[in-house]
Symmetry: C2
Subunit: 119 residues, 2 copies
């Protein structure tokens, strides 16, 4: 409550939680999905941010890492890291999302206010 608009990191974490709820993927796949999601808005998330967000969610005990080797395609055995909810991760994730939600609505309020007052 002591800052301006919602931070990118928080938004990415919310998006990642939702994505993990739906399908287990690995880092760069999430990146690709999110790039598609935000392409219409001229926002292109970077791979380092995705990783940092995933690492934070891991450190917070919401998800955990599973190392795997990709099915032996033509491309060889690439090591990837799949993310899964911990025991109470789903619940913790919901709580986190709710926190960010109110911050998003606050941000929405700020932007609407600016648009209303200045245009």
């Amino acid at each position: 409550m002591n800052h301006f608009l919602t931070k990118q990191r928080a938004i990415l974490k919310v998006c990642l939680i939702s994505l993990i709820e739906r399908k287990k993927m690995y880092g760069l796949q999430y990146l690709k999905e999110l790039k598609e999601t935000f392409k219409p808005y001229g926002y292109v998330p970077k791979h380092s941010e995705i990783y940092k967000a995933l690492h934070e969610l891991t450190a917070e005990g919401i998800i955990y890492r599973i190392k795997k080797r990709r099915c032996p395609d033509r491309e060889g055995f690439q090591e990837i890291i799949i993310y899964q909810f911990t025991e109470d991760g789903l619940e913790k994730g919901r709580v986190y999302k709710q926190m960010v939600r109110s911050d998003l609505e606050r941000s929405l309020g700020i932007i609407r206010k600016v648009l209303k007052d200045n245009y």
Copy 2:
């Protein structure tokens, strides 16, 4: 078009342009107004940001500075700086505001998208 949500600085500059359109004031008065404006949203602008925004608008030739001494109240002769539009400042200001406007709408789109997709 290569970033995330609209930056604080840009929003403050837009607000300041609008305020200068209405009434000539000095830095800390703008600060006080803007604190009031955004109080309901838990956002408290800082004095240094206001000054930086005013300095940028000055450097961009949108406004210029007039040094004055405040009417001799009980408090003595405080030196203040009033801001005024330059010759083409009003027009330039409008152009700047329009630029930020589209960025604000882009940001609005991002936040709405996140709220829609994740909740």
